[in-house]
């Protein structure tokens, strides 16, 4: 191995430096899962009968299902009876000021350029910061309410808008869709609900930013976004700040519904704890994300920047049902150390003149494995469907792996499907060139990687893109110091 490869590896070999742990308190159901636990979860949340029945049906189905083993990832068996399925929101240790927070964490925040107030909330500092955030939140909520937009926790939505929940919950990802979706449907704790009425353009990016202090939605999160005819919404999920959680398994479900001429843009930055250098203790992120372009000329765009988790296993997908509907998937997936990722998308063309675009950029470092897996399916009636897929892999060092699994099922011969794939090593020639111009090795690596990811970053809302670039630098540097 050459020197620069070794330096590259040294750069990418350090530990994830921060996260927070918290004390477990009361209001917690005992470990294990049975019908009674499902009933208790529903009861504790005061849910209507239909939802309990829905959960029970999912649970019974889940019992008859077998955990899938097909992804290109490796993990020890999960003991589902060793998991706590309901715990009241956990308290983080409260600090008096940022001076008490871990200086490493603060350095990360500064590198990411997170505003001071937000830093305080993330670090668990009490008082004024939270008050600030509440007032900001209230202002936003009022503004949204004026337009008829609903943006609330899932539990609130169940109470306030049961008819909408009943109509759309499980309409895109049925409770019996897959093993983890069934599990989520049975025991989901909370999540987000968004409803954009007809013709309304949501005036701001809906983001987890102002949900920060109610983020403890647990490991089985549920998100549902409905965009009525002609409406438009951009939703940001996640946070660039490092997130730690004692729950190892995360099995969320996200459902999107876009009616005629509606547009939903769903952006994710995922930075969950990836485990230590040997891969111990990291989060398993097994998520089902799917959107349906139900109406004509509707459009759904998934953009994701995945840098965290020990294992990332997800395929944000689009069902292009409406004629002339559009599905897009832009992804950057970074794996380092022992991380594993098997991610991609499914584009299901059902309507006429439907179009889809897939741009996937995988970056592997350390001893990690990074797989792209994607399905493009064109149904019998989908006249003139068009898909373009581009899957690129970038390897840093020579002990990591990149894999591409494209699947294609075309039942209509008017379809036009294009696929391009490349695998490249981060070029020593490129590094040498930049360094010969006085640019440090670290900056040179960042410049090359950011250039490689540019097409995806361009799809992110501006501030998010800037943060994502910095996050990528930190993830690959591996250390926050």
């Amino acid at each position: 191995m050459s020197d620069s490869m070794q330096t590259l590896e040294a750069h990418t070999r350090s530990d994830y430096k921060y996260g927070f742990t918290s004390n477990i308190d009361s209001e917690t159901l005992p470990k294990g899962l049975n019908e009674d636990v499902v009933r208790q979860i529903s009861a504790k949340k005061g849910e209507p009968e239909f939802l309990l029945e829905w959960r029970l049906k999912a649970f019974r189905q889940w019992q008859s299902m077998v955990e899938p083993k097909w992804p290109n990832v490796d993990y020890p068996p999960i003991d589902y009876q060793d998991i706590i399925y309901y715990a009241a929101p956990k308290k983080k240790p409260v600090l008096n000021s940022l001076d008490e927070a871990d200086p490493e964490l603060i350095r990360t925040f500064e590198k990411l350029g997170i505003p001071l107030d937000e830093q305080k909330i993330l670090a668990g500092v009490a008082v004024d910061a939270v008050i600030d955030s509440v007032s900001v939140k209230t202002t936003y909520k009022e503004k949204l309410a004026e337009l008829g937009i609903i943006f609330s926790s899932f539990s609130e939505a169940v109470k306030d808008h049961p008819e909408l929940i009943k109509k759309y919950l499980g309409s895109v990802v049925p409770p019996t869709d897959n093993f983890f979706a069934a599990l989520n449907s049975a025991v989901f704790s909370d999540g987000s609900f968004v409803y954009i009425p007809k013709g309304v353009r949501c005036p701001m990016e809906l983001s987890t930013y102002f949900r920060i202090n109610e983020r403890n939605t647990g490991q089985f999160e549920r998100t549902l976004i409905v965009a009525e005819e002609g409406s438009h919404v951009s939703y940001l999920e996640g946070c660039t700040a490092p997130m730690r959680d004692e729950n190892q398994l995360h099995a969320a479900v996200v459902e999107l519904v876009a009616m005629d001429d509606a547009t939903i843009k769903y952006s994710t930055v995922q930075n969950w704890y990836p485990g230590d250098k040997d891969g111990k203790g990291g989060i398993y992120n097994f998520v089902t994300k799917r959107g349906v372009c139900a109406g004509d000329r509707s459009k759904i765009t998934w953009t994701q920047v995945e840098t965290g988790s020990a294992i990332t296993w997800k395929y944000p997908s689009c069902i292009l049902k409406g004629n002339n509907s559009v599905g897009e998937f832009y992804s950057v997936a970074v794996t380092n150390n022992m991380q594993q990722a098997d991610t991609g998308t499914k584009m299901i063309h059902l309507g006429k003149n439907t179009r889809s675009t897939i741009i996937s950029k995988g970056i592997s470092a350390g001893k990690s494995h990074n797989s792209y897996r994607g399905l493009v399916k064109v149904g019998k009636k989908a006249e003139n469907a068009h898909n373009f897929s581009q899957c690129d892999s970038l390897l840093m060092g020579d002990r990591c792996g990149a894999h591409t699994f494209p699947y294609l099922e075309v039942e209509n011969n008017t379809a036009k499907v294009e696929h391009e794939a490349t695998t490249s090593k981060i070029g020593e020639d490129q590094l040498f060139y930049l360094q010969q111009r006085g640019i440090s090795e670290e900056d040179a690596i960042n410049m090359i990687v950011n250039g490689y990811c540019k097409e995806v970053f361009n799809e992110l809302p501006m501030e998010f893109a800037v943060e994502a670039q910095k996050l990528l630098a930190i993830s690959l540097e591996g250390s926050v110091g």
Binding site: Y433, Q435, Q436, I448, N450
Partner: protein, 252 residues
Amino acid sequence: MLSIKDLKVNIEDKAILRGLNLDIKPGEIHAIMGPNGSGKSTLANVLAGREEYEVTDGSVTFEGEDLLDMDVDERAQKGVFLAFQYPVEIPGVSTATFLKSAVNAVREARGEEELKSIDMLKLLREKTAMVGMDQKFLQRSLNEGFSGGEKKRNEMLQMALLEPKLAVLDETDSGLDIDALKIVADVVNQMRDANRSFLIVTHYQRLLNYIVPDHVHVLVNGRIVKSGDKSLALKLEDQGYDWVKGEAALAE
């Protein structure tokens, strides 16, 4: 300024440079000529710090410091510039972003402040004009889809922006038409001054029609076998390399 003493360099255990000596004083232009495979490009790359090249013996001192002990970026920051024979393409990184980073990295190393955007813009405008490059190239990805001539022009732009103390031109003339060649020569001549030195590595004499070197050296089998002034270059063009090879063989 630059002093190379008994430099021996291997690539994968094969001896390429076999005891090379060279002294370059401030303000001098030296040309290194030689047949293919004589070690010309190796010399250029070793000075810049490329690591496939293993220095087995000898020393290189730049302004009194051990050059071989410095990292690649440090050498650049101290004022050693290599104009590449084959500039690489870097997709997604705009030429302007790259140039700004390079200029500021070198400034920072010199203890100068980052250039303000407006001053940077002015500087880029001035230097692109100097090398006859269209500003639209600044918005394109670095070297991506550039023609051979455009890439070399971009190398000259970088040299003009970074104002090195020692510029090494590694066969910058290869593959250039006469107009492009004149531009390279023009930039070197404009930048030529009492403190700046150039090491011009070339296979052909024709670039030296436009850049008049103070010294010409002939490299054969990893050693400088003959040195002289501009007339040596002309003699080489006229008579080829065989006669120096013959002299070198006799000397061994």
